[in-house]
Amino acid sequence: MFTNFFLELRQARVPVSIKEYLALMEGMAEHVADYSVDDFYYLSRTILVKDERNLDKFDKVFGHVFKGLEALPAEGTTAEIPEEWLRKLAEKLLTDEEKAQIEAMGGWEKLMETLKKRLEEQQKRHQGGSKWIGTAGTSPFGAYGFNPEGVRIGQDKNREGRAVKVWDKREYKNLDDTVEIGTRNIKIALRRLRKFAREGAEVELDMPDTIRSTARNAGYLDIKMIPERRNKVKLLLLFDIGGSMDAHIRVCEELFSAARSEFKHLEFFYFHNCLYEKLWKDNRRRHVDTYPTAQLMNTFPPDYKIIFVGDASMSPYEIAYPGGSVEHWNEEAGQVWIQRMADTYRSMVWLNPVPERHWSYTPSIQLLQQLSSNRMFPLTLGGLDSAMKELNK
């Protein structure tokens, strides 16, 4: 019965499956929505939509598929004749002759009714012509404008059409985002990087050890506890920010939010284009609150795993020469700093949001690829997976 609706939803990329469609049929059979369009809309929304991001798409499809479901064109057709049309008409005020013509058409009431019908047919502002409502025309409805209030059409209709408005309002609009690789996938990829260790308070019962020591204790119970398992991986994220990275902000934000909830020991810093002698944590205060890179290498022990995120697209001078930075005078070349990082931290990868097939066209990417000893990976799920494998080595 509603196959068309179902197929259109799928086409609009609302993830619905046969199972949900059958559930909707079941709901109809059980009379959950009893002959009310409103209730049917709510029911189908509850059953078919599983994420508030899809609500807007759903509303659009629903409005499209069930258009004309109401017998009456609903109050949505309320239109107001704009003032500017009227102003133009002011020059062409009606003559007595014209007013007589109006009378000839059947008087005011009749005129209103015809106007209403025409307005429903008419979509846009219309100038000239002899039928449509507009300015400077000879149609009786154009001449209408001498009423400074304008004419509201459809106002007096009954309110049965309210239901249509519910989905035509599309209230969930700003929740819609078409994130393709959601953070869940990123989290699953990051999970490869878990290394469990037991640290801290002893809260779990160690069964094997308890049995062993109980046996040794001549059968008297000797309970052994061990600390809970925790993810021990420590992560240092360094983000390239600003400039050419602006195009990749979304994917970086996703990576960041996924990593943040997945790891307990996570630190992050920002840099611009290439790593130099200072980093910062707050982009607004990038020139005031800086953090020396040398101090970073002293503060975070070598068991931290380093992830650079950046497009590595810049002039090769910014990497290879002192003073090459676009923002400040750097005493030492970027490559010196990157080399130092590589020497300090055994596990280090570079994630690049630029698609891999374009890498060979940008010399700076190749340069950094060499500097990071071929540990640059594309910022895709596959690339993230291989990067995590690399970090786990």
């Binding site: 559930a23 959950v32 929505a33 709510y42 599983k50 008297y220 119970l221």
Partner: protein, 282 residues
């Protein structure tokens, strides 16, 4: 068994249909929405409205799916065996029932609330797929199958901290509680404070929606915060005029602590108040 809202809970039409669909079709209902819009309260109210017992299962980051089914208390059994307790012979004495088991075997069809499912480990929802779908599970220790005599009404709330897996979502109905508009908010306040002065309420709602419209707030105040604030205003016996004052020194509403929960937000507000004052002077 139809849910139509209660005298202490205002349910919008769409919420009503969603709840009734999940009761009639016996599917779990997943409820999302801003914090403080009454997700958890809904389960309480549904239970009250249809006269069903409520079983609550609050999820924490350490909660495992297995804990909802049952736990085998090996330590007590070991201890009892040391003391020569006769109960040791029967392993069933050491199986502790979880909330799901309770819900499955309850004499009357209960409402089961699984609260804040997004707090749990990322695999938690996947571990409950079969249990929520078929409403049965297998107890390995005693080799019995626990099957629901009548499918409980399952309500699941989520604050969207983690994405839920598709397979899990497929088995649930979904409802997103929209933030109530002025009209519904007035109804909600009426239900909670019937003797609130009309004009005090109007002024308070104006301020409340103004605050929600301030861009850049870390945590927008929600329904439950509004109710707390109104309660405070009533206890302090604030006159409506004190809310209306357009004096820019008073830009920060009285007793704002109930509305703004974050010192950055309070700072933001003070800054805006300062700017407004400066504009006035010019």
């Amino acid at each position: 068994m139809k849910f139509t809202g209660t005298d202490s809970y205002v349910a919008s039409d769409d919420l009503r249909v969603a709840v009734n669909a999940s009761i009639t079709l016996q599917r779990p209902l997943l409820i999302k929405g801003e914090p403080g819009t009454g997700k958890t309260v809904l389960a309480h109210e549904v239970a009250k409205a249809i006269g069903a017992p409520l079983i609550e299962w609050h999820i924490k980051s350490t909660t495992k799916a297995q804990q909802g089914l049952y736990e085998y208390d090996a330590v007590s059994r070991l201890r009892d065996s040391q003391l020569g307790d006769g109960r040791v012979k029967d392993i069933a004495n050491y199986i502790k029932r979880g909330k799901l088991w309770d819900a499955f075997t309850h004499a009357q069809r209960p409402v089961l609330l699984i609260d804040e499912i997004d707090k749990a480990d990322i695999e938690f929802p996947n571990d409950l797929l079969l249990e929520l779908d078929r409403m049965e599970f297998y107890v390995y220790e005693t080799q019995e199958v626990v099957k629901a005599s009548q499918r409980p009404i399952v309500m699941i709330t989520s604050n969207n901290e983690k994405e839920l897996p598709d397979a899990f979502l497929r088995r649930c109905f979904f409802h997103y509680i929209r933030f109530p508009d002025r009209e519904i908010m007035t109804q909600i306040v009426d239900v909670h404070f019937p003797d609130l002065q009309r004009n005090l309420l109007r002024e308070a709602l104006n301020i409340f929606y103004d605050i929600r419209d301030v861009p850049g707030l870390k945590k927008k105040p929600s329904t439950s915060e509004l109710l707390d604030w109104l309660k405070l205003l009533m206890v302090e016996d604030m006159p409506p005029e004190s809310l209306r004052s357009k004096d820019s020194k008073q830009l920060i509403p009285p007793l704002h602590g109930a509305l703004l929960k974050n010192e950055q937000d309070v700072h933001l507000f003070e800054r805006l108040a300062f700017m407004a004052r400066r504009e006035q002077r010019q």
